[in-house]
Subunit: 357 residues, 2 copies
């Protein structure tokens, strides 16, 4: 137990965190869909353990560095949901990793599959073909997934299945359509692999906004694994998308009122604590948990300027809880998460912070 | 010397860095203006040393945590250019700091001055009154600076002078007007203190975009100290504001081409390596140093999507140098800066990374 660190710092409400983990695990279980949470959100071995104990089949990460950290902390089934381009160094790290965990990576091109096969063939590292379901970031068109899978098999790799990230569901009113796109793309991709005589062991989708819609019985006929990340904490984006209620938000940035200049509130939590993410639909640079009418209208490195509406401003020196727009970015700026337990505060290390490579 | 780390990682061109430090130091010297660089940009003891050796009078930081790191690394004159709200813990840390360096803090209200005086009186920590010169973030109106200074003196603090941050100069075509505002505000504030019989030892302004304009002989009659930060590296914001040439940009994020999905380039440097900053005037989420026509049109945590124009895309696996929009944010995400020296790479620790409190 430690005394409170100076503001700004990240606080975790342990009851809410545990409840979020448990609820999502129960919903997945009731629909017989595997949960493979994306741990880039929390980058914390403690929270991965909570997820695994509650029934997660394994974890999802974005980078080889994250995979190394979580494998060293006891995660035995790791999927790097990213179309890695392998050089000698990264291939060697993956071979080492495959000795201590069950490991799969993403691939989204024939060239990428051939390159991965050349460097990883015979290692036991499996691949999933990434499919674009409408987010238009990475991933092949669904009807081309067979080509990539065939190239992977020819290069000596074991193909586990197909995956997509329906990121275009991150917009107001877009979720239901994104889930339809996701299911359609995954169904097409799965069938393309089957047409090539390739077994499909996993059809993987999901994100926090599409999670509720993905967990409908119809979807489960196609999708058998979901990879949400943000659901453990929630954030202002999810709040504004209507995906989480403020009462379920489990992470905030505790900040001090340092100025009333120009009749506005200025807090000491800036972009170096909250992250600078601002989606097109966001109403500001973050929200105040206990003041839903307030908006952060300007953000610099160590200042959040808050329009507080007509209400009386909290006094200089007051301490307030800010909800970051995008919790994954805020967590990746912090060395520790401060967890409120009975009797005090405990620091949970953000073990995989900065593991981009 | 170390082998190259995996992409994405931050590279520093040492020749360009040294040239940027030297040029600005020479210009300040020729105009008899003190330079007190803001080290939040680099958070690195090595670069602070370069700046001090080249003639900087001291350093500027934004937080008590940064001040502690740099004082422990030998910086003996530190200004925390921020209107701190002091509680017992922060006051105690400042008292400790004042034993190992000459120390000053910002104050922007009568209440803040009284609070600081109650907790720091007699400690030797000095204060500068922060003045709003048009950025409308923190700072008192210039003609109210006397009230704050009087409150500080009455509370037992030594007043060093006045300071401002002309942040509204961060916009195309806005620099010259911002410098005029800055000089006018600082002159008014200085005279307000003198009218109260308070000596003004320092009149401090400046930022990287306003630096060139601030260093004119007329300005030097009012401003006697400048606090630029970004000039050591430059970034895409400064490039697009016309403040730096690409040939002077000393920090890039080295990234690998991982996908050609949809005929676009996708790099493995996302917001967790570059930062998500995007000013209203920015043409994208970052630039490519050697491809000035390319634009990062979408950024997620580990993907930068690049519109490359009509040109042939660099091959999968190619390595490119990305110029972050806001270098201070990119540096604060990294544990190390990789410095190219003859014979290899050296890691410079981002010693004050994450020191927000």
């Amino acid at each position: 137990m430690a005394s409170a660190p100076p503001t700004p710092h990240l606080r975790v409400d342990l009851d809410r965190l545990r409840r979020n983990v448990r609820r999502t695990a129960e919903r997945a279980r009731s629909l017989q869909v595997s949960l493979r949470p994306h741990v880039k959100t929390h980058k914390s071995a403690e929270i991965a353990r909570l997820q695994l104990v509650s029934g997660a089949a394994g974890i999802t990460v974005a980078t080889v560095g994250e995979a190394e950290v979580f494998a060293r902390h006891g995660c035995t089934d790791v999927f790097i949901a990213y179309p890695l381009w392998l050089d000698d160094d990264r291939a060697s790290r993956l071979r080492d990793l495959s000795e201590i965990c069950r490991l799969a990576i993403g691939v989204d091109s024939v060239a990428g599959a051939a390159n991965a096969g050349r460097r990883l063939g015979g290692s036991g590292v499996e691949v999933l073909v990434e499919v674009d379901s409408g987010h238009h970031r990475t991933g092949v068109p669904a009807d081309r997934a067979g080509d990539v899978a065939v190239a992977a098999r020819r290069a000596g790799l074991v193909v586990r299945g197909v995956f997509t990230f329906p990121g275009h569901g991150y917009a107001p009113g877009a979720t239901a359509a994104a889930v339809r796109d996701e299911i359609e793309a995954l169904r097409t991709a799965r069938d393309a692999l089957l047409d090539e005589g390739i077994d499909v062991h996993v059809v993987s989708g999901g994100s926090t906004p599409t999670l509720a819609a993905s967990l409908v019985p119809g979807a489960a006929e196609v999708v058998d694994e979901l990879r949400p990340g943000v659901y453990v904490f929630g954030d202002a984006q999810q709040w504004e998308l209507g995906v989480v209620e403020p009462a379920d938000i489990a992470l905030t940035c505790r900040a001090t009122v340092v100025s009333h200049a120009h009749g506005r509130l200025v807090l000491d939590a800036g972009s170096k604590a909250l992250g600078a993410d601002r989606a097109a639909y966001s109403s500001g640079f973050g929200r105040l948990l206990d003041h839903p009418g307030a908006r952060i209208t300007a953000l610099s490195e160590h200042h959040a300027t808050v329009e507080f509406g007509g209400a009386a401003l909290p006094a200089l020196g007051s301490v307030l809880d800010v909800v970051p727009n995008h919790v994954c970015s805020a967590v990746n700026l912090a060395d520790d998460l401060w967890v409120e337990e009975a009797g005090g505060l405990r620091a949970w290390s953000v073990t995989a912070r900065g593991q981009n490579g």
